[in-house]
């Protein structure tokens, strides 16, 4: 009888969430149409590749301004931060965030439909990556540790749930992901020594369904052998800063985890520190781990491995494979078999000086001399990493993985030379760097072409399209379109500042749009003829 009631509730819930004409059907998440961008990366794969071709390498030179929306110019109060997330497009409406704020914007005109402001109790307001949508409900995180659900029609609140502890200096910034009727949410924070985790919530009630910790929390937990003791592991970091990617066929979601804690001074956490700085495959229904690959064993440089793990199918040595690839913050590129996490390709996409080669599992072997030192160690990449949170893109058309890479040197110092450091205990200083857009052949890990940003640097996120284009923020406060095959810069348009997210594209009423954020402004470009 209880089971019957449960099933009935589930059916009703699913029907409600499936939504009416303006909602997002769950099927739209698995196979999104070109008139939508229904999640952070556009689809579950993380490829940020669009099949649209109306704007292409032959005509992109005629791309021109569509509309501009300014966060500070609408109904919201001033100083609402900048756009460091990706808008989500559902049924002609863009849903956009900054910390404590959500906007609904007409995707054809840039007109604001509604704005939601959150009354904050604190937390780090460094950025917000965006929303998830299911049915007629929207989900986002706040800096003061809440997962909040709104009605997409009018921005009214449905529910709020606390997902982390502000007193431990956690905060919320991650764009949630909807998988199998669950809201998957990560957490942020790296000031105090706290564990990272990922959790699932019921989209109707907000109740937590499971939590997976990135680092061992008790005896018997996998990975405990890679820490000196249980206390070090329990406080060992591994924050889940980024939205996950997902393979519906394998029913595995891919979580990317942050650096270990204490961050720089590392004397009290000898070992590999699993499962920090890793790609981890989890069952989205249970939170159980299937496999993990650690790209930075015993990281000491603040090099999280939360860069997007991109899902695609391809060929390695002539054999068809289910693959997942990541250009990690530590400067190394990995292609794994996503069924089991075995490394198939390991290479550096920005020359580094901190490794002694790769081990037989394809992981970089850290050079102990390049760990931070009291008197300093000159290291490349710097703390910002060869790549950071801005998303890469993969084009199945060219077979190239594109990432904006930075090659920078800095000196890493230990400030706390004691046996039991806490928090950071050191940092890096100074620096010289250059940046370039790298096009990586996934089969070999070799750079096919490299486009240097001559006049400065760009860490912007990327978009690739079947129009043989890659869109990137440039080094001159501009949006640039490059030929995806050759790297030739074909078009650019000046913005109000550096591109601060990754561009997206969609088609409405036969017109293709390209949308990018720069600071507090959202820019849209179209073919106006």
């Amino acid at each position: 009888m209880r089971r019957v009631v449960f099933v009935a509730i589930a059916i009703v819930s699913a029907a409600v969430l499936a939504g009416g004409a303006q909602g997002l059907d769950p099927a739209g998440l698995v196979k999104p149409g070109t008139d939508s961008w229904p999640m952070y990366n556009g689809d579950y794969s993380g490829r940020r590749f669009s099949t649209l071709t109306k704007i292409n390498a032959d005509n992109v030179g005629a791309l021109s301004l569509g509309w501009v929306y300014r966060l500070n110019g609408g109904a919201a109060a001033a100083n609402v931060g900048s756009i460091k997330g990706t808008p989500v497009l559902v049924n002609g409406v863009l849903y956009l965030t900054s910390p404590d704020h959500v906007w609904a914007i007409d995707a054809r005109t840039g007109r604001e439909q509604w704005h939601f402001g959150w009354d904050s109790k604190g937390g780090t307001h460094i950025g917000n990556r965006g929303v998830a949508i299911l049915g007629e409900s929207l989900f986002f995180e706040t800096p003061d540790c809440h997962l909040v659900s709104l009605n997409i029609k009018d921005g009214t609140e449905r529910w709020r749930k606390e997902i982390c502890d502000l007193d431990q200096f956690y905060y919320g910034s991650v764009a949630p992901t909807i998988i199998n009727n669950r809201v998957i949410a990560g957490v942020s924070g790296d000031d105090l020594d706290i564990p990272g985790y990922m959790q699932a919530h019921d989209p109707v009630t907000g109740e937590m369904q499971w939590r997976w910790y990135a680092v061992p929390q008790s005896k018997g937990d996998p990975g405990l052998e890679s820490w000196p003791n249980e206390d070090a592991a329990k406080h060992g970091g591994g924050m889940t800063w980024q939205p996950v990617t997902y393979d519906p066929d394998l029913n595995l979601m891919y979580v990317t985890t942050g650096n270990p804690q204490p961050v720089i001074a590392h004397k009290n956490r000898a070992g590999d520190n699993l499962f920090t700085a890793s790609i981890v495959a989890l069952n989205p229904d249970t939170g159980k781990m299937a496999w993990a690959f650690q790209s930075s064993p015993h990281d000491t440089h603040d090099w999280d491995s939360t860069q997007t793990a991109v899902v695609f199918d391809g060929e390695i040595n002539g054999q068809p494979r289910k693959l997942i690839a990541q250009a990690a913050r530590n400067g190394h590129f990995f292609v794994l078999d996503r069924t089991n996490g075995k490394a198939l390709v390991s290479s550096d996409y920005a020359k580094t000086n901190w490794t002694l080669g790769y081990n037989d599992r394809g992981q970089p072997i850290p050079n102990p001399a390049k760990n931070p030192q009291v008197d300093g160690a000159l290291v490349t990449p710097n703390q910002g990493g060869a790549a950071n949170w801005p998303p890469p893109t993969f084009s199945p058309q060219t077979g190239l993985f594109y990432v904006n890479a930075t090659r920078a040197f800095s000196v890493y110092y230990i400030y706390d030379p004691g046996d039991n450091p806490q928090g950071w205990g050191g940092t890096d200083r100074g620096g010289w760097g250059e940046s370039m857009l790298q096009a990586i052949d996934y089969k070999t890990g070799k750079i096919r072409w490299s486009h240097k940003w001559e006049g400065g640097s760009s860490r912007a996120g990327l978009l690739s399209t079947a129009g043989n284009l890659v869109f990137s923020g440039g080094a001159s406060n501009d949006l640039v379109a490059l030929n995806a095959t050759t790297g030739e810069a074909l078009w650019h348009a000046g913005l109000n500042g550096s591109a601060s997210n990754g561009a997206i594209t969609y088609e409405l009423d036969g017109k293709q749009y390209v949308v990018v954020g720069a600071g507090d402004m959202l820019w849209t470009f179209v073919m106006n003829h």
């Binding site: 904050s120 604190g122 307001h125 007193d167 008197d375 300093g376 030379p417 620096g431 001559e454 080094a475």
Partner: protein, 304 residues
Amino acid sequence: MRNPVSAWTAAALVLAGSLYVTAQEPRPQPPPGGRGGPPSGLQQPRVNAGANDKPGVDPVAAAEGKKIWALECITCHGTNARGTDNGPNLVRSLVVLRDRFGSALGPFLKRGHKMQSGRSSALLSDDQVLMLAHFLRDRVNDTLRGSSEFEVKNILTGDAKAGEAYFNTEGKCTTCHSVSADLRGYAGKYEPVDIQQRFLFPRNATPGGGRGRGRAGGGAAPSPATAITVTVTPPNGEPVSGVLLQLDDFTVSLRDASGWFRTFTRTPALKVTKTDPLAAHRALLETITDKNMHDVVAYLETLK
């Protein structure tokens, strides 16, 4: 005989009482998206994290708390409250992290906790608990970026003789520099860490600078002598040179010697030649070892 800390305690209690009341009252609501602010008059960490109402630290109270700590707590919990084999780490304690001026610590200690003197912690007065709360919050803040503990320690570990040899030979420093000219008295101007940063990353260095643990990085404008310059040669025109302002795939901008801002649209026929006076420093990063780096700092530090 009054307790020797009573005079301070009276003041501290007034302060603490007002703060505690403040923390219990409805806080003024910040504007949507606003941060609100911590209680005024107390030291807050530079890291902009945690709850708006996280407790600040009164250094006087923390110093008094340190005395209690030394008498009753240090043996088990350690000098910096990070724990020992006999007692847990309190910097990571949820009781401490969730405490607001004794609100969580007080009830915990009132339950009775054997201290190193053998007394029960239940005997601690409210103001002693408050002092301990300030001391412990100060220890938490020590671990954060920007704390007073967050500073470079001794970096003078190199061999000055070896540094001199590297300076004169392999490092090729004498191509542009002389210890009897531009580097004369160099060590008197800068702290060792600034010397290290300045020779590795001169473009980030503040012109002039000064001894005083200044940071080499920080976005200061480059001096004219080290600015990157560019020469642009149109297909049918005279070359134009100046300080590079912007260079991308589409345009190049410069300010010429007469002060005019010039922009050119880039074409295959437009020749653009960039010159970086600090290119040798950049190239050095590819070859210099950490030992070379420490030796050069030790050598430059001798240039008083």
